[in-house]
Symmetry: C2
Subunit: 215 residues, 2 copies
C-alpha cells in the first residue's frame, strides 16, 4: 500500500508517519521507484504499537524508539529487552529519603525477591514511599504488602506468558509489550475495582456527572 493508504489504515496523518520514519521508529517501505514506496500490514501494526507506547504508556518518542529497537534486535537476549523496556518507563531520579529505600528493601527481603539495587522499579517504589511519608500519610504504607503480593502474582503471570511464546522474537515482543502496557492494564482494572469496592463500602460513590479531563 502507499503512504496515503497506510495513513488511512492506521489513522495516523501522513506527515506524522514521515516524522516517525525520520525518527527511525518505522522501517521505510519497499521503494518501487524514487518517489514510491510500498508499505505492508506490518507497518500498520508497527504504527499501532508506536501509538500505544505514546498514548497509553506515555513514553516519549525517544523512549519508544529505544524500546522498539530492543524488540527489533534479533541478537539481543530478551532478558535485556525486558530491562530496556523497564528503563524506558518514566522513572524519577531523586529519592532523597534513605529510609524509604530501606523499607522497600525490607519488602523485597520479606518476599525473598532477588533484585539489583539499580532496578529502576526500586527507585520508583522508594520515591512513592518517601512521598507517602513526607505527606504524613504513613497509613498508606500499610497497603504495601498487598501491593507487593499483587505485583508478584502479576509478574509470575507475565513471565508465564513470555515462556509460552514461541521463538525469541515473540518472546522479546511479548515481554516488552507486557512490561510497557501491563501497567496501564492494571491501572484501568484497579480504577474499576475502586469504584466497585467504594460502592459496597460507602453510600454515594463514583459519580458519572463529572466531565472527563485531560488525555
Amino acid at each position: 500500500m502507499r503512504i496515503s493508504e497506510l495513513s488511512a489504515a492506521s489513522g495516523v496523518p501522513v506527515a506524522t508517519i514521515k516524522y516517525y520514519l525520520r525518527e527511525g521508529m518505522l522501517a521505510a517501505g519497499e521503494k518501487s521507484s524514487a518517489t514510491q514506496a510500498d508499505y505492508s500490514e506490518a507497518h500498520v501494526a508497527r504504527l499501532r504499537l508506536i501509538r500505544a507506547f505514546i498514548d497509553i504508556a506515555g513514553l516519549s518518542i525517544a523512549s519508544a524508539r529505544e524500546v522498539l529497537a530492543a524488540v527489533d534486535d534479533e541478537g539481543l537476549h530478551f532478558g535485556y529487552a525486558a530491562a530496556i523496556a523497564s528503563r524506558a518507563l518514566p522513572t524519577p531520579s531523586a529519592s532523597t529519603d534513605p529510609g524509604a529505600e530501606e523499607l522497600i528493601d525490607e519488602v523485597v527481603a520479606a518476599r525473598r525477591w532477588c533484585v539489583s539495587a539499580e532496578n529502576p522499579g526500586r527507585a520508583l517504589a522508594a520515591r512513592v514511599v518517601s512521598d507517602y511519608r513526607a505527606l504524613g500519610r504513613d497509613d498508606l504504607l500499610a497497603t504495601i504488602d498487598v501491593y507487593a503480593e499483587a505485583a508478584e502474582r502479576v509478574a509470575a503471570a507475565d513471565l508465564q506468558a513470555v515462556a509460552a511464546a514461541s521463538g525469541r522474537p515473540a518472546m522479546a515482543e511479548t515481554v516488552v509489550i507486557g512490561t510497557v502496557l501491563g501497567d496501564s492494564l492494571f491501572s484501568g482494572l484497579r480504577r474499576m475495582a475502586h469504584e466497585d469496592a467504594s460502592a459496597s463500602r460507602f453510600p454515594i460513590t463514583a459519580p458519572t456527572d463529572i466531565q472527563p479531563k485531560d488525555a
Copy 2:
C-alpha cells in the same frame, strides 16, 4: 518562612513556586506586608505533593490543579474526590474495538464488580486489550484474570486505608494520593518482581550494564 526559605526547604526554585502560585495550586502565604509573605510547613508539604503528582504520576499542571482542588474542597464527598482523581489520570480517548470492551465487561461480570460504563479505567483497560489483539499478542490476554484478581485485592486494601483515615479531609487526601501514586507504587514493585521471576526462570537476566534513559 520566606519564599526563599520555602524554596530551600522544598528544593523547588523560587520562580517555579511563583508559577505554582499563579496557577492556583499553592495557597499564597500570609502577607506580612505588601512585599512580604510568610509560608508554613503546609506549603512545603503541598509542594512535595505537587511534585509527586507531576514527577511520579505524570500529571499535567492542569490535572494536578484539579486533583488538588478536589482534595481542598471540604464540602465534596470523598467519593467524588476519588472519581476526580481517577479522571485526572491520563486516559486514552479512542478504543475503536468494541470486542475489547466486551472482553473487559466479561472480566468485570466474572468478578461481580459493579462498574459504570463511564469509568475511565474501563476505557483504558479496553484500549490495552484492543492493542494486545491488534498486535497479534492475544497470548497476553491470558494474564488478564490474574491482573483483575490483583487489582481487586489492591483496591480492597486501598479502601481499607481510606476507611481507617479519620475525618473527611484525611479520607479525601488518602484516596486521592492513593489513587494517583498507587499506580506508580505497583509499577515499581512489578518491575522488581519481574527481575526476580525472570532470574529464577531464565539464565541471563536483568543486566545492570545498560544506561538509564529518559526521566
